[in-house]
């Protein structure tokens, strides 16, 4: 029987919950903070900002990252911008409107109180990032510039060219470095978290693998913060960095942290199309391009065919033969509809035989009109680096011919279930940024991931974590010789031995690519009960092959990137099953989760609020057993739940 989860949302009016809650949260005196040890796993925007803010308060923080430097974390790749409700454009933006847009964008499957808090702290993020030296775009008078993103009718996105993620990460990394210099934070690079240590129901530390020496190490702490990002790489091809993985999340899930809405993933509409079988990743073209780019395919199939064969150029197609299908279907938002809507529309046109590109799996993103009306210089200043990147990859000049784009796996809204304090179902284990589930529901709006990462790290966790720590004053760290640490460490060593002993000859990449194809086909843009059910068998076959065929040459006592990939894939295979299970159980369409059985007659998502207005949180029940479903009912007291319309 499914249990009901309590998110511990504070009482009071929506716009005062966070203020009142902060008054009630307990604090730790400065003298005690230096005796409290915190582990932060991950150094993206969420992890770096949390570690820096906690270091500033005087806690002892150990930070772990997989890369050779914290600055490599995948937040660095975010291009377009970061949202905030500053209303600098006087276009009637407000905290309330940002909250409404985010909740509606997520198709009413996120938690009202968390989303409001996110909108509430958004302005402080911009203030702090400016103070940290982020060179945001400015107008000639020196004021901050904004642009528009999908799913919103105001201009609230702050940006630093097409490198906003990089600039924000450099700021958070700078703040982290300052704490390292002050001795409050220690950074452990090239370390992968292998397991969580739980003692008497409380997170008390982690086990890591030093990726250079292969040493398995034990780190105790009073609390553990997970900031390890999302799991898009389940699909093999995604816009995520190659090393982004779900292993820390999966290990925490296996230790008792519930996994919420694992089937909610985001497929980004504007990416460079797949070109060949050896492709290792997909490259995003920022959503900001949809400010000036218009999306179209030919109206006529025969023209599409000639484009596919290469006997016609896009510029040969006259204006009245072009179908600007987003402007046609969604006149109110046009090319700026949310990502899930744009991705489905692109797939629909391509499935109807109207796709372009050799493969027929692409649509045009055209700047002809913008170049005409705004001039090349303006377009170059706004998107120069994106146009250059496109040309480098495709060998085609987007100033002359339109870009060709196609949807690709990009972000995961699902993640570890957390309460209002961002604590998981394991006491003392917190999850922030993309690693948790709470703010984006069934679809995330553009420029909101950066906002959430920094909100959690700079302004929320530094208030809620001390409340937990205040109950641990005077408590000593567990000894490394504690049986829980010894057992966890032995388990990790055994797991690695098992993998090394497979001694197969199949590269991990080959198996991973097959997992990706399976998931893309059945648990991607469009899902059906039949397709999802069949996926279980496919996953079982892949798991068996993984256990028998995987080839990992070399030793585990040195750098071994095949071993690293195998560890990630083993966890991806487990998580994929959970994602499919979640997608199968949710017999409604919402946001990016589109079930063919549940659609309107126009082919739009059809929610079923009566049965599915809840968060699905899954509990691990051991190998071979089915995970157990727990529900957190979603209540919307302050806004009226409506059909999500962008027409």
């Amino acid at each position: 029987m499914a249990g009901i989860l309590n998110a511990k949302i504070p009482e009071g009016p929506l716009d005062q919950k966070w203020t009142l809650h902060k008054e009630n949260l307990k604090t730790v005196s400065p003298a005690n903070r230096s005796r409290m040890h915190i582990i932060v796993v991950g150094t993206g925007l969420a992890g770096a900002s949390a570690a820096a803010a906690l270091g500033e308060q005087g806690y002892r923080v150990n930070v772990f990252c997989m890369g050779d430097s914290p600055r490599r974390a995948h937040s660095v790749s975010a291009q377009g911008g970061i949202n905030a409700a500053k209303n600098y454009r006087n276009d009637n933006d407000s905290v309330q409107r940002l909250f409404m847009d985010t909740l509606k964008g997520g198709d009413f499957r996120s938690r009202e109180a968390n989303v409001f808090r996110l909108a509430e702290v958004s302005n402080a993020i911009i203030d702090h990032c400016v103070a940290l030296g982020v060179p945001f775009a400015r107008d000639y008078a020196g004021y901050l510039d904004n642009r528009s993103f999908g799913g919103s009718q105001v201009s609230r996105t702050f940006y630093a060219r097409g490198q906003t993620g990089q600039q924000l990460l450099l700021a958070a990394y700078g703040a982290l470095n300052r704490q390292v210099a002050l001795g409050n934070v220690t950074v452990h690079c090239r370390h992968q978290m292998m397991d969580l240590v739980v003692i008497e129901g409380q997170a008390k530390g982690i086990i890591t693998r030093d990726m250079v020496t292969g040493r398995i190490e034990k780190y105790p702490a009073h609390a553990v913060v997970l900031a390890t990002g999302g799991y898009s790489n389940v699909y093999f091809l995604s816009t995520n960095g190659m090393s982004s993985n779900a292993s820390a999340l999966v290990q925490c899930w296996k230790n008792g942290a519930f996994f919420a809405n694992p089937g909610f993933v985001q497929i980004h509409p504007t990416c460079i199309p797949v070109h060949g079988t050896h492709q290792s990743k997909l490259t995003l073209m920022s959503e900001s391009l949809r400010n000036d780019g218009r999306i179209w395919v030919p109206k006529d199939k025969s023209l599409a065919k000639r484009l596919q064969e290469g006997s016609l150029k896009p510029s040969d197609i006259p204006e009245d033969e072009r179908d600007y299908y987003l402007e046609r279907r969604y006149p109110a938002y046009g090319n700026l509809v949310p990502r899930d809507v744009a991705s489905r529309a692109a797939k629909e046109r391509c499935d109807a035989g109207l796709g372009v590109n050799k493969t027929g799996k692409a649509v045009f993103l055209d700047f002809e009109k913008a170049l005409e009306t705004k001039g090349r210089e303006m377009i170059e200043r706004k998107y120069g680096n994106l146009f250059q990147m496109y040309e480098k990859i495709t060998d085609e000049n987007p100033y002359k011919e339109p870009m060709q784009i196609f949807p690709a796996m990009h972000y995961t809204m699902g993640g570890l279930w957390v309460d209002y304090n961002l604590m998981t179902t394991i006491k003392g284990l917190f999850a922030i940024g993309e690693a948790n589930f709470s703010d984006h529901g069934a679809n995330r709006l553009g420029a909101s991931a950066l906002m959430q990462g920094l909100a959690d790290g700079f302004f929320i966790l530094p208030y809620t974590l001390p409340d937990y720590l205040s109950t641990k004053i005077g408590e000593l760290l567990p000894e490394m010789a504690h049986p829980a640490f010894v057992q966890a460490s032995e388990k990790v060593k055994q797991r690695i031995r098992n993998l090394m002993e497979i001694r197969g000859r199949t590269p991990v990449d080959d198996l991973h690519r097959q997992l990706g194809q399976l998931m893309w086909e059945h648990a991607g843009i469009i899902r059906s009960a039949q397709g999802l059910t069949e996926t279980f068998d496919g996953l079982e076959v892949l798991r068996e092959r993984f256990g028998k065929e995987t080839g990992i040459p070399g030793s585990d006592k040195t750098v071994n990137q095949e071993l690293e990939k195998a560890l990630h894939l083993e966890d991806f295979l487990l998580l994929a099953g959970l994602m499919v299970r979640d997608a199968l159980h949710r017999k409604e369409s919402c946001g990016g989760h589109f079930r063919v059985e549940s659609q309107t007659k126009d082919g739009e998502t059809l929610r079923n609020d009566k049965e599915f207005q809840y968060v699905a949180a899954w509990e691990y029940k051991g190998p071979g057993s089915e995970p157990e479903l727990h529900k957190e009912p979603l209540e919307f007291r302050y806004i009226h739940v409506t059909e999500r319309k962008y027409k």
């Binding site: 103070a131 400015r138 190659m242």
Partner: protein, 250 residues
């Protein structure tokens, strides 16, 4: 396309390394250089041979993890890109391609093509930030920043910390890397108060870590994948001298 690859193999930091030759065929021109290395590594797995270690992550030229010396140039023959943005159509079919790690005293080899660039983190820890605590920032529009300054700061701040400047410099100097951060922050009013202290602390740390001195050769500027210019080194020098001058007066 097919290629002969001459690749540096080295088992461990202090082990003796050497070049090994590998043949690879059926490579499509649209395959990236790193995807070509993936193909080679997967071939090695099938032969149960140890794969070639190299750093990489985002594969879109922004994380700064990848960095290979290809045919004698960091990030290969093209200007203004990282290794991951290099495509095989850039090479002549049938040619031999030499692949080495970024070599510098301050970047010891970890394994094969993977080097330790931890020294960059240490330089930034010495002062590459604005000392502001979370929660104490004033409203963002309290201080205006001219568009020109913001754009120039952004140019400098584009540095991805890949280390091509160090690897290409005959002195193994990290001046362009240090200058990019010093310049990015000192151009903004928010970074101004600490500008000279920052420059001094970072330059001293750079010297301590074994990087060489700048002799104005300018290869760093030529090889920088983000086209950061030596003009920023001039600004670094100015901040550094200013600091030294104030020290003397005290």
């Amino acid at each position: 396309m097919h290629f002969t690859l001459k690749i540096w193999r080295q088992a461990a930091p202090r082990a003796k390394g050497c070049f090994e030759h590998y043949a690879i065929d059926q490579v499509d021109g649209d395959t990236s250089f790193l995807e070509m290395l993936d193909m080679l590594n997967n071939k090695l797995v099938k032969e149960n041979k140890e794969t070639i270690a190299f750093d990489h992550d985002c594969r879109e030229g922004i994380c700064g993890a990848c960095g290979l010396y290809i045919n004698g140039r960091p990030h290969g023959p093209d200007d203004g890109i990282t290794t991951c943005q290099l495509y095989m159509r850039r090479f002549r079919d049938g040619s031999e391609i030499t692949v080495e790690p970024f070599r510098s005293k301050a970047f010891p080899v970890i394994k094969d093509l993977m080097v330790n660039r931890n020294a960059f983190d240490k330089i930034l820890q010495a002062g590459g930030f604005v000392s502001v605590n979370t929660g104490s920032a004033p409203e963002a529009h309290t201080t205006l920043v001219s568009r020109e300054k913001a754009e120039e700061s952004m140019d400098a701040s584009s540095c991805i910390g890949c280390g091509a400047c160090v690897a290409s410099c005959k002195n193994g100097s990290a001046m362009l890397f240090v200058a990019s951060r010093v310049s990015a922050l000192s151009l903004l009013p928010q970074g101004k108060p600490e500008a000279s202290r920052r420059a001094r602390a970072m330059v001293l740390k750079m010297d301590e870590l074994g990087f060489g001195s700048c002799t104005n050769i300018g290869t760093c500027q030529m090889e920088c994948p983000k086209k950061i210019t030596v003009a920023h080194i001039a600004r670094l020098n100015r901040e550094f001298l200013y600091c030294k001058h104030s020290d003397l007066q005290e």
